[in-house]
Amino acid sequence: MSSEDSNPAATPTPGVDTQGDGRWMSLHNHFVSNSKDKEPDVLFVGDSLVQLLYQFEVWRDLFSPLHALNFGVGGDATQHVLWRLSNGELGHISPKVVVLWVGTNNHGHTAEQICGGIMAIVQLIKDKLPKAYTLVLGVLPRGKMPNPLRERNAQVNKLVQEAVSSLPHASLLNVDPGFVHSDGSISHQDLYDYLHLTPQGYQAVCQPLHAHLKGLLEKQAEN
């Protein structure tokens, strides 16, 4: 009996249009058709932290040269990413590396459930792209001062780290350069609303990510 049925974070669920302009589905359809004539080596998929990355210079500087596609959707939780990847977004491409960054929007789910959701995505990617490597990025701390979501996100990272440790096709990369200061605070210079990254915040996250990605791509090329 699969655990998907009992874990909402691991049950593919499309976004619901509560506002009235159907943007979630529009974006999904845009990604599906956008992938038809592309041959990316790297696919970034996840929530607004992925989506916003595409808007800043850092994407053009570091990730365009790696032939990367960006399938980030603001507000997405694990179950939404799972649905998107199950419904066409992996249909026409064979990236060598999938960078997965999701989990912070799984409100109401426990750290265990969120980990289960992330691992369900890792498994789905393996099923659809047997040769791809999945790089899971650690969920960042959030909020100006210590709060339960920071604890939840840290626990998610710990659980995912354990779950991927035995897998040859996936790993967790901690991309938090030390956003939390000694007094427990996060600066708006790094996370402008204590959740989303500023261009400066992205630089700090992406330099090591880029280096790690390049290493992975070189290794994939050797295989």
Partner: protein, 241 residues
């Protein structure tokens, strides 16, 4: 157009019902990290230290602008403060302005951009809420000029929210000039193509602007701000001889 009594009292709809879009309301922390209040607190603190000539207030359309180069190029030089918070409605902006975000500052111009997140309210109510914000600003800062930006179209293709936002703009166009110190600026021209679509090159999620999208709206806005700042007499200052 619309209920003309709203111009003098946007808090009331026709029949003397209270306009819910003109009721000040803080955002409740449902997620658990209290980020809205943290941002508000930071803005109140900024009021203590800064002497802005221009104040931007609104939702994510305002907030995100500060993350792009265009802010540093065009608006930082005008000594602008950015008090945008993603997700805010007219109610939330009203609450913030009433609870410290206007203390100790005397901007010459205030740019208001809010309304697209007022999902529970009708177009007329939203316009009434924006009008209430403009009235609050002119009563708290008698010398300030208020520039209200029109709501942009949203969504991939035609949809009810586009019609609603256009209706809000229609009300504002006729109501704002009667306030005297307030004016309406439509920065939405060109985003909707002839086939009714919006491009992700302009709005990366069919709502939020890309760098290119901001560049398109920043020029007419900055031109207007420069014009207003030029026309506003400098306060008398002691000069060093």
């Amino acid at each position: 157009m619309g209920d003309t009594r709203l111009i003098s009292n946007p808090q009331r709809m026709s029949g003397d019902e209270i306009n819910p879009a003109a009721v000040a309301q803080a955002v409740e922390d449902v997620q658990g990290d209290d980020r809205w209040m943290s941002q508000h607190t930071r803005f109140v603190q900024e009021c203590k230290d800064a002497e802005p000539e221009v104040l931007f207030i609104g939702d994510s359309m305002v907030q995100l602008m500060q993350q792009y180069e265009i802010w540093r190029e065009l608006f930082s030089p005008l000594h602008a403060l950015n008090f945008g918070i993603g997700g805010d409605t007219t109610c939330n902006v009203l609450w913030r302005l009433q609870n410290g975000e206007l203390d100790n500052i005397r901007p010459k111009v205030t740019v208001v951009w809010v309304g697209t997140n007022n999902h529970e309210h009708s177009a007329e109510q939203v316009a009434g809420g924006i009008l209430a914000i403009a009235q609050l600003l002119t009563s708290r800062l008698p010398k300030t000029k208020v520039v209200v930006l029109g709501l942009l179209a949203r969504g991939d293709g035609p949809n009810p929210l586009r019609e609603k936002n256009a209706a809000v703009n229609g009300f504002l166009r006729s109501w704002l000039p009667r306030l005297g110190q307030a004016q309406f600026l439509d920065v939405g021209a060109g985003f909707v193509h002839s086939d009714g679509t919006i491009s992700t090159r302009d709005m990366f999620d069919f709502l939020h602007l890309t760098a290119a999208g901001y560049r398109a709206i920043a020029k007419p806005l900055s031109d207007l701000l420069l014009q207003i700042l030029d026309e506003t007499p400098e306060e008398k200052r002691a000069s060093l001889v």
